[in-house]
Symmetry: C2
Subunit: 446 residues, 2 copies
């Protein structure tokens, strides 16, 4: 695009007006700034390939058994020399570790007493204030007193499931589901019921309604924004309908919003179902593991009042307290305004990475391959031709030191046999390009 100076002269407007206009275009993903060079038109985010179809999961609740395959994939995710297309782990350059460590050290110097104590539930007040404040952007007026901090989102989900359901109970999930949800349900002895899900708009409410009529669903566990693995975002109107549907039937919704801050559209973030929860039926969960500090183990849940005491007791009997110093450091980072600036950078970066990997998949994979067009997060969900077996592909890729997440781990039934999930978070380089070409060739050989 024309340089700022040129356009300013051409249109007879001030330089700052042009800059502002370019900034808006940048936020919308239309152009991008390159340091010391200027602004450039950005390739369109949506790739040409078709997206995967709405899922058709089995209608029978299932005991889950995907654990060991997942553990293997997770452990390989950070192994040097293995192409990191497996676990959805944020890369170092997307984490403000230095700033957080500096803040942490400063707090520790200020108060040795306040940095090391049993921070019993509900946990760090300063942090709860900041988290509550951020949910205003998600349409949700939360009081800090409604939040309980946890050791990451995993603990939040684990506790919420235990608060609302018992072993043997049926939990409705997306299909494909985040494998971590399946693992938690397996570990708690509950049963998963997978609900047809659109890779763009999330869970099908028609299908969910049908399932609720037919099965003893005890609770729903959905990722409503930038679902893992599809990237689906449930439209606001659907969120409202979902909350009403579940409230009418007294089925609680556990809402996993861990990716909510990682949308590619910089104009704002999508709402949460909790924003429509007038009756107190939504247990909202989140964490800073994907945006700031996977190593800090700081997450939260916001349960309605009727489950609050139970959740505090479950928290005390599961980990007693949440780490005290990391909570204070993250609270200070948020209060300083550094978080939004950081998110801006990271969201642009992920948008670009997802685009690059998607383009490479379309070049390298066999005809008939479908790829999602996520609006946030950092993973792609790839549907390969039916003859390709993802577990087989996974095994053959590992021999070549390429780690991927095979489709069947996203289903308690071992469905999605010809799907894989690709993590796009690590900087696209020659190693990743070569890995994608190899994957495409292996898939083509099938």
């Amino acid at each position: 695009v024309p340089s700022v100076r040129k356009l300013s002269a051409q249109l007879s407007v001030s330089v700052s007006t042009v800059l502002q206009a370019y900034r808006i275009l940048e936020d919308r993903g239309r152009i991008e700034a390159r340091p010391q060079s200027g602004y450039y038109v950005r390739p369109p985010l949506a790739p040409a390939a078709a997206v995967p179809r709405v899922s058709r999961p089995s209608s029978v609740p299932t005991k889950v058994t995907v654990g060991s395959l997942i553990m293997e994939m997770l452990k390989l995710s950070t192994q040097p020399g293995v192409a990191p297309l497996g676990g959805a782990i944020p890369p170092d350059q997307c984490l403000p570790t230095k700033q957080l460590n500096r803040i942490q050290a400063a707090i520790a110097r200020r108060t040795s007493r306040g940095s090391n104590f049993y921070d019993l539930p509900p946990g760090c007040k300063e942090l709860r204030v900041q988290v509550a404040r951020r949910y205003i952007d998600a349409g949700c007026a939360l009081s800090p007193d409604e939040l309980i901090t946890t050791c990451g989102c995993t603990e939040a989900l684990n506790l919420c499931l235990r608060a609302v359901a018992r072993p043997g109970d049926v939990i409705a999930l997306e299909s494909p589901a985040y494998y971590g949800h399946l693992q938690i349900i397996e570990a708690l002895g509950m049963r998963a019921l997978e609900i047809p899900t659109c890779p763009q708009d999330g869970v099908s409410l028609d299908a969910l309604r049908f399932a609720l009529d037919d099965k003893p669903v005890r609770a729903c566990l959905f990722v409503t924004n930038f679902q893992n693995p599809t990237g689906a975002v449930m439209p606001d109107e659907t969120k409202r309908e979902l909350v009403e549907l579940l409230a009418a039937r007294d089925v609680p919704l556990i809402e996993d919003d861990i990716y909510g801050d990682l949308g590619f559209d910089l104009r704002g973030r999508p709402k949460v179902c909790k924003a429509y929860d007038a009756g107190g039926n939504v247990l909202l969960c989140g964490s800073f593991s994907k945006t700031l500090a996977p190593g800090a183990r700081v997450g939260w849940c916001a349960p309605p009042p009727r489950w609050r005491d139970a959740l505090e007791e479950l928290k005390v009997t599961t980990t007693m307290a949440t780490p005290s110093l990391p909570q204070l450091a993250i609270a200070e980072f948020l209060a300083s305004g550094g978080y939004d600036h950081h998110l801006r950078k990271v969201r642009r970066y992920y948008a670009q990475q997802v685009q690059l990997v998607s383009a490479a998949v379309q070049r390298a994979f066999p005809e008939g391959t479908r790829v999602t067009r996520p609006a946030g997060g950092h993973v792609l969900w790839v549907e390969m031709p039916p003859r390709v077996d993802a577990l087989d592909l996974h095994a053959r890729a590992l021999e070549r030191k390429i780690n991927i997440a095979p489709g069947p781990i996203f289903s308690a039934k071992g469905k999605f046999r010809n799907f894989i999930r690709l993590n796009c978070a690590l900087r696209y380089d020659e190693m990743i390009e070569r890995a994608l070409i190899t994957l495409g060739r292996l898939a083509g050989d099938a």
Copy 2:
């Protein structure tokens, strides 16, 4: 005692020989050093009062329901202006928070990458090396690869119980039991069976044998060293017998060794049951929350091989990872040798505090009161005359801003109605002395 110089002259031995002799007497608790003053004979640790008798719990397994009373007591434990005789929380001056914070800041400067990542199970290798090394003193040759780090001992116990038992299963505990164990069992829907326990030697093996013949005990959960609340230490020979007894019946033992490093006898620490576990039947758990950093949430478990995979999966589905930076900092603190020096100070301090509180109880409480003589830890278990109701005393004490742990929370059956547990960890001062006098008067009024 005579000054070092004087005794050296008197016996014609060198000053360093006298110093060494005094040091040995100090380690044995016979004399104590007072800064700028010299060595003094120490009052005997064992108070004159009788100790409580062996417990006689009910023989019927029970669903546990003590949660809300405990939450209230915990939350009041750190409230300013309330005499802190409730929760067993280590005081700031017994935690090397400044050193740990300094190490943490240094590590963070060295490696931002290495300080913030999903430290998936088994967790930080450096820390596991140090923890394994320390168990040599407890008679136990552990490999670092046998350990899994956890978010505190609470998570370790929670995961171990879930690995070996299911909801509804019967877990054998001490009587009185640590209320935290009762809470975990309640939260997991398991049932507690309380076994008669001697306040000096721990669980009665005769009673346990009888219970195992009679009830479907799925697992045992015992604090074998400095049990909370009694301070009991199971003699080594009994530990060996216990391990053999349980192995013969294939009943796993979850061993909570959280107080193992806090004995008053500085010559060494007691063994763990795990030291005798030839057959792989003991799941050893511990943490640094009582000795170094309650705020760091760093503990561990050492499961036998048959439960290892299950435990790693349970860990991943409960909190995913253990905080990364605190693990590295504690590992470095241990590797530097600072831990033993720190423990020496803290163990002397707790011995003195327990002695001071015990003496005050004997002065202030009504005739017939019995007090334990713990050999480690920092709590006292007080049996008052049968007419005194501990729940009533607890309520009346709270009105006077005194927090205590009433006996019934240490039993799923609400037993120990005339017992209280006193935390002795905070520096004995006028506030605590006044609180104990008030408590004694309230108990006497009953």
